[in-house]
Amino acid sequence: MTQQMARDMLAEIEQTQRRSAQYLGYWRQGPTVQLWGLVWIIAHVACYFLPASAGQIWLVFDAIGFAGTALLRLRHSADDTSQRQTGRRLMWAGCILLAFGAIASMLIGPRGRAIEVLWTCLFMSAYMLHGLWFGLRWTVLGALVIAVSLLAYFSHSPWYELIMAAAAGGGLLLGGTWMRHAR
């Protein structure tokens, strides 16, 4: 066994580790993306029929989404110290984004749809950033949902909530399925 052969084998190991991390991430987190797709579809449809209760509807459905996400994450909680550290950093990154969203929402004021689109873009930007490290599918999905949300918002359509349910919620649902079946 020469040093060059050892170097080649270590390179092969590194390549397999990268591919495994990327695909395991898709398979493990795909169900969470699907869950949020379902939450968005139901919440947007509910907002269409009960526009006066939009605030409460989102409060309830976001709570359901976060509880479901926490449950799904428990299934795949890391048993490796470095993975746990990464998990903690990601959790703090999420908290920073939430704080930023809350401040931006306060500054925007009582403009329901603008705030809704802001939160959508914020979460989907996080998906896009995640994709820079963990696989292109996250970036593609985030960019598509942001584009659809902005189109729906600026078109001032009376069907806004239904467009968001079908395109953004449906997009997440399909995107989650795309990740779960990544090969």
Partner: protein, 96 residues
Amino acid sequence: MNGLDEVIHQSTRLRMMTALHALKKDEWIEFVHLKSLINASDGNLGAHLDTLARAGYVEIDKQIVGKKPLTRIRTTTAGRAAYRHHVAQLRSLLDM
């Protein structure tokens, strides 16, 4: 062979053990998923899995789920230890 593990040393088996080591301890992976992680054919993967199982490095679980066969694989404690030792030996070769 320089303290290297002869079972794991073969290229496909090395990739298989690397992919399996990326899972949590005691976590199973389906045959089709492992196949796509290492880009191997069914026959090739099956033959190398048998070799790893005979060495006691992996466990294979075969079930029938909804009339379809489901094969799952996971590493054993001995398999994870052997893999880590093998990688450490490869790294030590670079330091010589």
